[in-house]
């Protein structure tokens, strides 16, 4: 038994108008101060006003939301008792909204216990909506919640199958103002989700389609969106790609680029999309070197996305790796950890911690070649130097 879930996805021009159809009395908006400053909350609250839904804003979410912030949000939502919780922002805000709605139902829980092992039944009280302002983490279409334990410098992969949003609204007006750097970082997250979702050992035929299309859309539209934020077609297709990437990995599992990227992000505070996108080609090489199954899958993707038209599976798979690196290069992304400005001595000191964190993520186990400590250590070292994986 497995399952596939996704929200009602309302997308395209003027999709925020959907808010006029929403039934409810009170909405608790979870976001960050920057989103408020950019004026991105106003289009939403304007529609809520039209629908005669009261609202309150919780804008304390920081990038890589902490357990402390979620706890604070849990107290605030408990006082407000809304019937909608709306996450507006990037993955941090949407993940925070998911965590906070779980605490609405189970206020006695600590945020680090918000896992699939608990039952919440929050829909007896409120429903969940996600409105992304990046393209993106795909959080609007997953039940995953990633929080940061700031005391231990560790990312926690939490979440409940119950916290798949009820509705996701993909209105391009929310992403048009995204600066190039964020467009690039979050865009690399999309291709990582797409490729890892497609090749996950937890994947099935249900999760292949969204991953494949998300890969093709990212290769076609991300650089356009990066170079010209006003390119409406590129913005719309990247929003779709982000959500489809979420549908793919969210219903299978992310992989090794995510577990290594999480570890790097937790300890060296490299933004999520930049970190996972950096590791993606290295982890792809690692899998190609011993997994015929994943090599064949990469080759399928390469052929479908017109990255390679002829050649063996290995040649086509390596062409996809090269294409991912080229994409990162076009976006001005770092191709090695050294390029992120991390000092070598400091990095080498942290390798044991990086390994330990990556080892204890489910995503390290859902690939066809599961690394142990030694291989993880080598991947971390090679990625620092920018050396292709040859083992």
């Amino acid at each position: 038994m497995w399952n596939f879930s996704c929200p009602l996805i309302v997308y395209g021009d003027n999709s925020l108008d959907y808010l006029a159809q929403v039934k409810g009395k009170k909405a608790f908006i979870v976001t960050d101060k920057n989103i408020v400053k950019l004026g991105l909350i106003k289009p939403v609250t304007g529609k809520l006003d039209e629908a005669k839904i009261q609202w309150e804003i919780f804008d304390d979410v920081e990038p890589e939301p902490s357990l402390t912030t979620i706890k604070k949000g849990g107290v605030a939502v408990g006082k407000y008792q809304p019937d909608w919780v709306i996450g507006i922002g990037g993955g941090s805000c949407m993940d925070a909204a998911k965590a906070i709605i779980l605490l609405l139902a189970r206020p006695e829980l600590e945020p680090e216990s918000l896992s699939v092992l608990e039952e919440f039944n929050f829909r007896a009280k409120a429903r969940l909506m996600a409105i992304p302002t990046t393209s993106g983490t795909g959080s609007e279409a997953t039940w995953a919640i990633v929080l940061t334990d700031t005391k231990d410098n560790r990312k926690l992969g939490l979440g409940s199958t119950e916290c798949m949003p009820d509705v996701a609204i993909l209105d391009p007006v929310m992403v048009m103002g995204m600066p190039p750097q964020i467009t690039a970082d979050t865009g690399m997250d999309v291709i990582c989700h797409a490729i890892e979702g497609y090749t996950s050992t937890w994947g099935t035929s249900m999760t292949l389609g969204p991953g494949l299309i998300a890969t093709r859309l990212t290769l076609e539209y991300l650089v356009r969106a990066y170079k010209d934020g006003g390119d409406l077609e590129a913005r719309k297709e990247m929003m779709n790609a982000a959500t489809m990437g979420g549908m793919s990995f969210g219903n299978s599992m992310a992989g090794l680029a995510h577990s290594t990227g999480h570890a790097l992000g937790a300890i060296f505070h490299v933004p999520h999309g930049r970190a996972v996108g950096l590791f993606l080609p290295y982890t792809m090489e690692y899998l190609i070197n011993e997994s015929a199954e994943t090599t064949a899958q990469y080759a399928e993707m390469a052929r479908y996305c017109h990255v390679a038209s002829s050649g063996s599976d290995k040649e086509c798979a390596l062409a996809l790796v090269a294409r991912v690196r080229a994409l990162a290069g076009e976006l001005g992304q770092p191709l090695s950890i050294k390029d992120c400005g991390v000092g070598q001595a400091e990095y080498e000191k942290e390798i044991p911690r990086l390994i330990e964190r990556a080892l204890n993520e489910v995503m390290t186990m859902t690939v066809t070649r599961i690394p142990g400590e030694e291989d993880l250590g080598r991947i971390f070292k090679y990625a620092y130097e920018g050396k292709s994986i040859d083992f």
Binding site: V116, L117, T364
Partner: protein
């Protein structure tokens, strides 16, 4: 990591009565392992319960143990925050299970 467990087989299929196996794990070593007839004998930190057919699928790697939890085919009680940090250990526990010669009831 340290933790003691009851691994519980729920009645169903060839299993007529609830079965309890106590396992005490401590930093890579198994300090105790016994079939328990009186479930009140121990108060372990964790319990993991599933029907026989699910245990068999997990032990023969037809079903991932984490997937079994996500789909509520198995049920875990205990300190969730603690256990969520030890995915590798959970994976190795399943791998170790496969090494034990087993006679299945069906």
């Amino acid at each position: 990591m340290g933790g003691d467990f009851y691994f519980i087989t729920e009645p169903g299929g060839p299993v007529k009565e609830k079965g309890f196996m106590y396992v005490d794990l401590y930093h890579g070593k198994c300090r105790a392992c016994e079939i328990v007839t009186d479930p009140n004998k121990y108060k372990p930190a964790f319990t993991l319960a599933a029907p026989y057919n699910i245990w068999k699928q997990i032990a023969t790697k037809k079903l991932d143990s984490t997937k079994a939890l996500i789909t509520r085919q198995s049920k875990l009680t205990g300190d969730m925050a603690k256990i969520m940090r030890y995915t590798k250990a959970a994976n190795e526990l399943t791998n170790c299970t496969m090494l034990v010669p087993t006679e299945w009831l069906d």
